[in-house]
Symmetry: C2
Amino acid sequence: MAVDLELAPKQKRPVGQPCCEPVVYPDVERHEAERMASIAKALADPVRLQLVDVLRKHAGKVCVCELVPLFDLSQPTVSHHLKVLRQAGIVDSERQGLWAYYFVKPDALEELSGWLSS
Amino acid sequence: MAVDLELAPKQKRPVGQPCCEPVVYPDVERHEAERMASIAKALADPVRLQLVDVLRKHAGKVCVCELVPLFDLSQPTVSHHLKVLRQAGIVDSERQGLWAYYFVKPDALEELSGWLSS
DNA sequence: CGTATCCATTGACGATCATCAGTTCAATTG
DNA sequence: CAATTGAACTGATGATCGTCAATGGATACG
């Protein structure tokens, strides 16, 4: 992170013209950026992040009825957050009779995680 | 990720009582969750994610005038995204005369990155 | 059957977001 | 000084978000 640089415009600026041409470009293409941003968006709420945390620590499947009382939120709100996570592809669920069990999908966080720690 | 489990209510359910007591708890405390969620929120936009990507790849500092033409967005909009990233503590900027140079703050993404790859 | 239970969905609310056109501010140049 | 330039700020608009009360649907139990 401590690379020095020239804090000079990348190009001499003739008056009446733009200051410089871009010499930097994203390594991450638009599509990757959109995929990772959508994962980040799903994690961009403390409740959802904690939900994912619980589900990850319990590699198995966790009943919704165990998740709801962890938060000071109504059951529909927790259900909504789980839906957001499901639609982002981060978790999935399975019904077993009256209960619904949620679990983290393997590799769902891999791309974002890899980019962040690169 | 492939641990098996008992898909049974954690407790026999006497009619007229809640289905089960929670046996799972978040490892991540509320405050950590809020910090990481706020970082994720700042990254929850493809433009901002690409901005961070560019700034990270160029460990030095990049002029705003180089960033604006990378996107099909107005200059005030790019400036707004940079402000969001700055307020999240992910980037910082330095003025050099007429130009503003942005750079990624070291370790800003560390906590989220660590949690994601844990 | 009827009733209780768990979970999802709906509709509504205020709050926040992404974007732009227009403007302001600071610094450089002539 | 006046004109120009790079970047941030302002205000506005339409979209999305987080939350809840109320409801609906499915399953289990007596």
